[in-house]
């Protein structure tokens, strides 16, 4: 422990703590701009300068490690003058005229710091050199006029996301934030994760959707889990007057630390699918608007006692909905097929292995954040489960080796140390060869090379996705577990949708077959039905669809019930590494639209079947591939 004195307060901190952290821990205020808790301290803005006894000049508290006996002062006249000088310089550098800016009056860290220092005016007038605004990106606008060159975005893009799109060109007074080699942001290597928007202290990078829609003081915050994939990022959904304003990552979230991908941050706000607002019942060959009662009656009539019934649910729905779904269709109605749209492809083979072993064999996502060698099997983390991909990408410059095994185009492979060819369906023999190379260092050159890299690693991780799980047979999974044991490697299965693992724990894993069914009950929620499913359902005489949005599937259905989309419902989600997390309702549902759960209860009432709402016991009753943790 280190003892130091800040403004007369004796403070005790861990070794490696910076003076800024020590001051903040003691509840003392030191203004910052370029500093961000998630980033490596940079020391660029020089706003956090403090006086340290014995030091020749003022010292930046954000980068200065606390040492024993250090005496620090944070509010001497010298420090206050320095702060004012720095702010004056920043205001004078570019067009920081607040009255033209969308973040002014509360949302701008620069302006807030000036308020804090009691600046009523600027001693130096702004430089009147205009820079072009880059509005080429579909989701963001980059305005260099507002930039204070703190490089938070650049560091976030590199350190957190591992994408290295943003950078600086030129030097000195000519320094300029650019994307790649100064191409428009919209044509750059940007993956639209939006971390730069979220981390920008001023209005230099803003997102198109939320600009001028509401300031921090005017919006409501709704913190919950993202339902776009199984990573389970924590996000904050900002709303105002029952409208979505913006989605932000939660910096304090232990898993994603503020990161989101385009699917979690921007795309939900771009959703322009036609919304269903009233029940529809097919009459005389045409779908007609109907009352809820009529529609429920039509369903009860159409499903009858459940003979020849296929019930299929989306894995984007909360566990509560899925458990109720199972209780109604599998337990009470004993439908012939009760499954999910995912058909267990991402989980079934692995879940079987866990049952066979009688214990979990997969590890936490945290292992992916701190590893020195990653083997990725038939999985492209650049395209899917992107935030997990960020964890890998951002380590590649620190000497972490990445081996990508895939048989098709894989964007992650571009960043790999090297690539192995893994043909779909040959997972078993591939893994056997790899296992052999690990055991005896013999075999194909590529395998031996991979084996050597993995063996040399201290914390190797093998990560695999839906394609692997779908194609791997029991033998392949067994070999995989064997490899992990000989390497002492962690296994991370990324699974599929938000509640992919929950569906697996509920046993909703059967493949969809179309022969001989009389009716289908499709609980889509807000998921987009695949063309394959639409085709499969054409053979069904009677189809019920619960959906938030209109689609070809609902157009073909016989009864359609409008249900809520993700923001209008709350519930529990089980992510890929076994975290139980809550999604919260952020918006009021439109009138006449119920949640899938409420709709199911109505239907079960009409069908006069019993339901069981206890989902937790069901989830925990099966040996999971990765330990389930309640947060």
């Amino acid at each position: 422990m280190i003892k130091l004195t800040i403004d007369g307060n004796e403070i005790e901190v861990q070794e490696g703590t910076t003076v800024l952290e020590a001051a903040e821990a003691a509840g003392l205020y030191v203004p910052t701009l370029c500093h961000h808790p998630q980033l490596t301290p940079y020391g660029g803005c020089r706003l956090c300068m403090v006086e340290v006894e014995g030091a020749r000049t003022l010292q930046p508290s954000c980068t200065l490690p606390a040492t024993n006996g250090m005496v620090v002062k944070t509010n001497t006249q010298k420090v206050l003058d320095a702060r004012k000088f720095v702010l004056t310089l920043i205001f004078s550098e570019r067009n920081h005229f607040c009255m033209y800016c969308q973040v002014s009056d509360g949302d701008c860290e620069l302006q807030n710091r000036a308020y804090d220092e009691g600046m009523t005016h600027w001693d130096l007038q702004p430089n009147w050199q205009p820079f072009e605004v880059d509005a080429s990106h579909p989701f963001m606008v980059l305005d260099n006029n507002r930039c204070i060159l703190c490089r938070r975005c650049v560091r976030a893009c590199g350190e957190l996301v591992g994408n290295y799109t943003l950078g600086f060109e030129e030097r000195g007074a000519d320094s300029m934030l650019v994307a790649d080699y100064n191409v428009p942001l919209g044509e750059s290597s940007c993956i639209s994760c939006g971390t730069c928007v979220q981390i920008c202290p001023t209005g230099a990078i803003i997102d198109r959707q939320s600009a001028y829609q509401g300031k921090e003081t005017e919006v409501e915050h709704n913190i919950g889990v993202c339902v776009e994939c199984s990573v389970g990022c924590q996000r904050d959904v900002l709303t105002r007057d029952n409208r979505l304003i913006r989605i932000e990552g939660v910096w304090e979230a232990p898993l994603n630390n503020g990161l989101l991908c385009d699917k979690g941050r921007f795309l939900p706000l771009e959703d322009d699918r036609p919304r269903l607002l009233t029940p529809l019942v097919r009459k005389d060959g045409n779908l007609k608007a109907a009352t809820w009662d009529d529609a429920i009656n039509a369903i009860a009539e159409g499903l009858g006692k459940g003979e020849g019934l296929a019930a299929i649910a989306s894995t984007r729905l909360p566990i509560e909905d899925l458990a109720l779904f199972k209780s109604v269709f599998a337990d009470s109605l004993k439908a012939e097929l009760v499954t999910t749209l995912e058909e267990g492809k991402a989980t079934a083979s692995l879940a079987k292995m866990a049952e066979k072993l009688g214990q979990s064999f997969e590890s936490n996502l945290e292992t992916l954040k701190d590893t020195d060698a990653v083997l990725s099997l038939a999985l492209d983390l650049v395209d899917e489960h992107q935030v997990a991909g960020f964890f890998v990408k951002r380590q590649l410059t620190d000497g972490t080796n990445l081996i990508v095994a895939d048989g098709k185009g894989n964007k992650l492979a571009e960043k790999a140390s090297f690539k192995l060819d893994l043909e779909a369906g040959k997972e078993g023999s591939f893994l056997l060869k790899l296992h052999e190379a690990i055991e005896s260092e013999t075999g194909d050159e590529g395998f031996v090379k991979a084996a050597k890299l993995l063996k040399a690693a201290v914390k190797p991780v093998i990560v695999y996705g839906q394609d692997f799980a779908a194609n791997a047979d029991d033998k392949a999974v067994e070999t995989l577990v064997g490899i992990s044991e000989s390497l002492n490697a962690s296994l991370v299965g990324v699974k599929g949708n938000a509640n992919s693992m929950a569906a697996s724990q509920l046993g909703l894993e059967s493949p969809i077959k179309t022969n001989g069914y009389k009716s289908a009950f499709i609980m889509l929620g807000d998921e987009n039905p695949s063309q394959k499913l639409i085709k499969q359902l054409e053979d069904f005489p009677f189809v019920v669809a619960l959906s938030a949005y209109g689609s070809q599937l609902t157009g073909n259905a016989d009864v359609v019930l409008p249900v809520t989309m993700w923001a209008e419902q709350s519930g529990t989600y089980l992510n890929m590494d076994g975290r139980l997390q809550k999604a919260v309702q952020s918006l009021e549902a439109p009138e006449g639209v119920l949640t899938s759960r409420e709709t199911l209860l109505k239907i079960s009432e009409a069908l006069e079947v019993e339901t069981d709402a206890d989902w937790k016991t069901r989830i925990l009753s099966r040996t999971p591939t990765v330990q389930i943790k309640e947060s």
């Binding site: 067009n95 005229f97 607040c98 009255m99 033209y100 002014s104 009056d105 302006q111 308020y115 009691g118 600046m119 009523t120 005016h121 600027w122 001693d123 007038q125 702004p126 009147w128 205009p130």
Partner: protein, 162 residues
């Protein structure tokens, strides 16, 4: 106009001060022998503004910059990005409401347009009251303090600009 936002409190204020000159009274300029407090609104947009500012500085013990234009340059300062000529061209020639004969006024009697500046770029200022417009309460607070011989402190909730 924002001064009027202080509503009936203006009557209290009038009690406290001896109003020497305003643009809407007969006396447009402060007394030659000097006054205690002078308040300037607006930035420096042309040579006439410059003269006024300098005269005010000469004759006022305390010179106050009131409003974002006076303190920072404000909306008119946007024209600095394009230059005065482009602004004149847009206003007098290219504006949709002009007929074909649009012409930039060029009488020698007119003040010359300059780069738009905050007051403190031209004359030293003693007190800044930023805001667009400054809050009525802030204006009232500042003026009553000045009228009673104190320099107001513009800070915390009184400190606000856009």
């Amino acid at each position: 106009m924002s001064l009027l936002d202080i509503d009936e409190r203006i009557l209290q204020l009038v009690e406290l001060v001896d109003l020497r000159a305003t643009p809407i009274t007969d006396l447009k300029e402060p007394d030659e022998e000097g006054v205690t407090v002078g308040i300037l609104e607006g930035g420096i947009n042309n040579t006439y503004n410059e003269e006024v500012a300098k005269k005010m500085r000469e004759r006022c013990k305390i010179l106050v910059a009131l409003g974002d234009c006076a303190v920072f340059g404000g909306v008119p300062a946007m024209r600095n990005f394009f230059g005065a000529e482009a602004a004149l061209q847009r206003a007098y020639v290219d504006a949709e409401s002009n007929d074909d004969e649009g012409k930039i006024p060029s009488s020698p009697e007119l003040a010359q347009m300059t780069r738009v500046r905050a007051l403190n770029e031209v004359v030293p200022i003693d007190l800044y009251i930023p805001g667009c417009p400054p809050d009525a309460d802030v204006i009232f607070y500042a003026l009553t303090e000045l009228a009673q011989g104190r320099i107001p402190e513009i800070k915390n909730e009184n400190l606000h600009w856009h």
